[in-house]
Symmetry: D2
Subunit: 291 residues, 4 copies
């Protein structure tokens, strides 16, 4: 497998009007930019326009800094308020993974990293239990155990402070809650907004909170699901990135649901993380545009 060519990824959003595509495309054409992927979307209700473009880095005669400053002028011209980013696929992505005891999502992510499918640096794995230290270290990745004692608010606050420090140390592009069983305090949700991804083991908005498979079993649903979403202060209510489901029947016990659900959790989380790291996800209000 040859390395994919280095690309600049531009995401841009502003109130819709005529001529946006023309302006951006002309700007890129004038720079000789070879567009290898382009997507557009307008949210009809809010009148907001979104685009994401991938340009071959080698086709642009100047560097990332110059591209950014030139694009800033274009953005300003197009709208008084706009959101935009330009990133370089040549910059290696850093990921921190938070876990508890359930290892299936971690095993899956580490397998994808080891096989080269997910080409990222896992800076650290942090567990509120030590169970997954061995497998993490077998992949030559640092594992940190941070205990979250139930009951004592001061100790818990201290644990979150330690967690924050360990996470922020690597300024990660993504903080993955891979079945991490602690609810992040609001200030962490705020500081990590748009970078913290959670996998919830239900088809949200059904079965928010604890033990969703138990809830699903009690309700007698015929499909169970998993949801990857950005973490916000409201539990399991952040912008949804990806979801999928698997069929169950009256024959499936809760243990069967847990087992079947894991396969969906792993896939949904891996997809969501990939899209996030490729800057494919534009958040708008409490919803996502996934290009």
């Amino acid at each position: 497998m040859t390395a994919p060519e280095r690309r600049y990824v531009i995401t841009f959003g502003c109130p819709d009007r005529t001529g946006i595509v023309a302006r951006i495309a002309s700007f890129l054409a004038e720079a000789g930019g070879w567009i290898v992927e382009a997507a557009y979307h307008t949210d009809r209700e809010t009148g907001w326009f979104f685009t994401r473009q991938e340009v071959l880095a080698d086709s642009i005669p100047y560097g990332l800094g110059e591209l950014r400053s030139r694009f800033a002028a274009v953005a300003e011209q197009l709208a008084s308020r706009s959101d935009w980013t330009i990133t370089d696929t040549g910059e290696r992505r850093r990921v921190v993974i938070l876990v508890s005891r359930e290892g299936h999502c971690l095993y899956d992510l580490l397998g994808r990293v080891a096989s080269g499918e997910l080409d990222v640096d896992v800076s650290a794995v942090i567990g509120n239990h030590p169970d997954l230290a061995t497998v993490t270290r077998a992949h030559r990745i640092p594992f940190h155990h941070v205990a979250f004692p139930a009951g004592d608010p001061d100790e818990k606050a201290a644990a979150f402070a330690q967690l924050r420090q360990l996470v922020d140390a690597s300024t990660p592009h993504a903080i993955v809650l891979a079945r991490f069983m602690q609810i992040l305090p609001p200030e962490l949700c705020a500081d990590w907004a748009g970078r913290a991804l959670n996998i919830h083991h239900s088809f949200l908005p059904s079965f928010v909170g604890a033990r969703p498979y138990h809830q699903a079993h009690r309700r007698g649903v015929k499909l169970i699901g998993a949801t990857c979403h950005y973490v916000t202060a409201e539990l399991d209510a952040g912008p949804i990135i990806e979801q999928d489901v698997i069929r169950v029947s009256h024959d499936d016990s809760i243990a069967d649901m847990v087992r079947k659900g894991r396969d969906i959790e792993k896939i949904v989380l891996a997809r969501g993380l990939r899209w996030h790291l490729e800057n494919r996800i534009l958040v708008h209000g409490n919803k996502t545009v996934v290009f």
Copy 2:
């Protein structure tokens, strides 16, 4: 397509113990009964045993009445309290369909009846709007218009009384709420319990109540669904028979969701109705066993 052979369908439920299968199977073997389908299930939490068996009618040397009275003795022997039914596939099933303005589920059901896929008598279609009268009558099926005036409780009660009369006239095996936009009063839910099937246009328990596609759009889910369930007095909370989903994206407007969702509604309702008419569904508490 040759007609399927006539069968007796036995469903039976009682507290689990050893020897139930042996007792029923021996009873059928002694009668010379040729079992063409058999399924078993035990609910581990409640310790309740379920079975459904299909026997070739011709293989039993006596008639349905005799079979029932002989089986009653077996059932009594097995448990002091049990639920059982024996039905004859040779008895044609009668169905009443309740509709409003949205015709896609009705068109779909009528198409299945016309093409012979769903081999039932549609005794009547009853609409709280007259819109679907023409298509119904083109299929030579009686259509009744019962208006449900908003506001006046007496007129509404009268309308429900009329609805009940029209439905009960044919003692239907199934009363299908095919996007019927009225909430049945508790006494109708009670009287039609286990015979009234609703199709709800969401993946329950998400998006109970009105305008589920609007709710789904607002929440930004990545899959939309449909749920066929038995009607109970609590809105959209009855035992779930079948569910399915279809993928949507940020690109889908509410109108797109409505359109895509229809295909799932039609299929889920048709499956649920077929299983119901084939006595495949055993209700247990608020859950279903679908054999």
Copy 3:
């Protein structure tokens, strides 16, 4: 439901180079064109670029003829050889449906037309058996019976000549083989190229030709499928538009497969037809780009 706004749909394909998007977008921006949908794709192997754009008709200050002649100049400028079309969603689409005896796809399409979901004129339904005349005429659509006698090549050629005449009479945008059981002769395939859509009841390329459910049953597959594709002279080998599958098990007889498969056939055909009529499908070699 309000009528969707009238739009011009532009599809364009040419060898990839920089500046295509900029040129087209600038052309539209200069005309004041409000782009409501835009999609791009480059086939890496053949280096061919594709785009499809929807522009609000009211936002362009001149008519379709003028738009076409102006765009022709742009196209010529961009490439010496290119494929492009501009169509007007205000022009009502005409569809001819070819059937045999199996009515499920026809019922489904007529239901979609009657409920307004598929906003087209069905100019005619033509059957090589008369079975589906009644349902067609109940929808006030002309039905023609053209018998295709087995054995005599001259009579068969005459039947195809009659079929061609009946089809061509309405210059349809789409000719739908809705489980039509005759193989079109090469000259009809050629003349109707890009307009004739077939639904094949298997997941192609598995189970080409006759009785695919029988083939699937014999092979013991665990999923069955359906494929909507453009008709070409080579049987069941044309460009694939859409496919889907449904799960089956050892428990499903061929009759069960036929029944379950029908639901997939109907949906896959309806999706393919919609995309075709919305000019979403660009054929490239033996493959499709579906925007």
Copy 4:
């Protein structure tokens, strides 16, 4: 998670007749056997009856040997020729995994074993390349490298002899070809019949043989799949155990298909292996009954 109770699993197949279920159920009832799962199937074409029953081991007053010899008498009574097995879930299953360079299926299986989801002994992993030695040994599982030199038939035969020896050393219940890129010689297929499972990266019977994703890309299919099947002497033509698919589009390169397909391969293989080890799969001709 508590350990599941020890069970005896009985599978039985013979020509269908009345009284089989009664005979087996009575036999079990007389022994006091508590049936926790029971499934039946009759193949209508061949008239062959199949059943699988799970009985709590503790409910039977004698041991496995006695159960087998008593059941042998029942089987003989029921049919002159029958296939039956009785296995003990208390006997730990041994699995050997064959790999090449692609590690995703191996990573997935090892993750399932490590997390306790797949409760088996992996006796050995054998690779025709050494690439996956490190990860295997990190799980404390022996890895053997057996080179299969292209070209020289004698060396290849010697390699297969070595492979056989390594595999047979642990008399495994399952030999898993987890993207093993060598075609087993007929005598190994014969000796390992019913125990060797392969994962093929296409929705068979489409795209038999080498590079199925390339074949799929060339044909322009809209879904790609994976198939788990028993290995037989005819390439990719053995009895199908499980299949699944995932959606692709014109936008997906071969590399994208390879990546997306991996998720399906892993799941389909894991399901197939689980069912095999639980004795859920009864092979009949070239088809499987999966209870």
